[in-house]
Symmetry: D2
Subunit: 146 residues, 4 copies
């Protein structure tokens, strides 16, 4: 087991990233509300924003260039309310836990105008080398990443 510096871990668990996204016309379905599939784009954007926030505005792009990706292992979504075309939504992202083999993110998605919760997401990700498809120790990755 990799030991992560306690101070760093605490610091990471305290970061909350907030990202604003505008609902596209193309995101809405036959009911006139955001398709449940589109929320995966929204919190993926939230993940990228979080990662860039704790390091560098191009952190995820640079990781990809150096052959590192963050595949989704597990996904839990509770849909609480719906959004419409043109709505401004806020994705609030923080880390729930970091293990050796995975990292869990919490994404709470709100409508900005009235602060109504639209969806709660728990997304468990791995860290993987693209070429070898080998998994990377997550604690070690984050110790070096930030």
């Amino acid at each position: 087991m990799i030991k992560m510096e306690v101070g760093l871990l605490k610091e990471l668990l305290n970061v909350e990233d907030s990202l604003e996204i505008v609902v596209r016309f193309n995101d809405i379905n036959t009911m006139g509300t955001v398709h449940f599939k589109e929320f995966l784009d929204y919190f993926e954007d939230g993940f990228v924003s979080f990662m860039n926030n704790i390091q560098d505005p191009l952190a995820v792009k640079n990781a990809l260039k150096s052959g590192i990706v963050f595949p989704v292992k597990k996904l839990d979504i509770e849909y609480e309310s719906s959004a419409e075309f043109g709505d401004h939504i806020i994705v609030k992202t923080r880390i729930k836990s970091i293990e050796d083999d995975s990292i869990s993110f919490l994404h709470d998605i709100y409508r900005e105008s009235d602060n109504v919760l639209l969806a709660k997401v728990v997304c468990v990700r791995l860290v993987m080398e693209v070429d070898s498809k080998k998994l990377v120790n997550v604690k070690q990755f984050f110790s070096e990443f930030v």
Copy 2:
């Protein structure tokens, strides 16, 4: 609480629908494997196939025409393995439970060639009238649907 006829409930819980889907070129991401978002299309297809299977080849289309939709309330996905462009995948769909206010589907998604499990999905759906946005009692809906 609506009482569902025990025989009908048992019958529904015994149905397993199996649907084959071919992975599109457009479904794969920068890692050369199916994007995690595309699995939502796959099990949505599985849901439609299941519903048509227990009633009529146009059951879901007819429901939509009569103003009934089945929004997703909750989603749990475990990604076990990845698929590539051109792979034939099998979506096995069955009902996990039927409550008054929701119905839970299990979708197990396999690669056909080697029977490897790609993803396990629990998808909880509501039954809703499009125009009024009113929820429909799920047990009653299924008692009349089949």
Copy 3:
């Protein structure tokens, strides 16, 4: 034939809207570049931005609420160069021509960092009432819209 006020027509043809979009991780394909399908999201956003620009920040949303949509009739795209995850792209939108039955938009899509042209789009749209599916005279619509 509806006669559009010459001053208004001239004014509309002079408007150029410029919208910045950041390429999502989910927008890139197996080659590591933006999938050709995603450009349809980009210039749809450009269209919405243009329409809101000439009237009100919620113009297209309000049109949809009042039952008016702008279906695409014809699409010509020339792909000139590719973009990557994280790139900032600029969609420049202007009207090419307004006829009684359709309106043609030009969308030039650039990468912001080096001003390289990524795609040139001509998109011909109709104006339609959602409920009746009846087409609306485009010149008349725009005379009242702005």
Copy 4:
């Protein structure tokens, strides 16, 4: 200029591939009809089917594995009619012309039930090596491909 064997060229121009696709629930937009973006999936499937048809059921997959892709250079689409969820549509694909630097495909997309034309597509593609991003002579590629 590469000379293509006249017999082979004639043969290729005579091939018409026909592919059936069922419209997904997720393919329809707020108007209840197929979103204009989804047609790009449909004729991409038609392209793959055509290519596999003239060679081997895994032709495009094998091309990708050997590092060859077929990026879209130019796209002209005329939308003639709309389709709904559950409709069976037919994509008829043939080659319009083969040049040294590109190949043009015609995709006519019909609704199966009443044979109504939904869209006419001209899609110009290149042949490219993924790793080097170098373009390949198209006539030579097809002389060896079939």
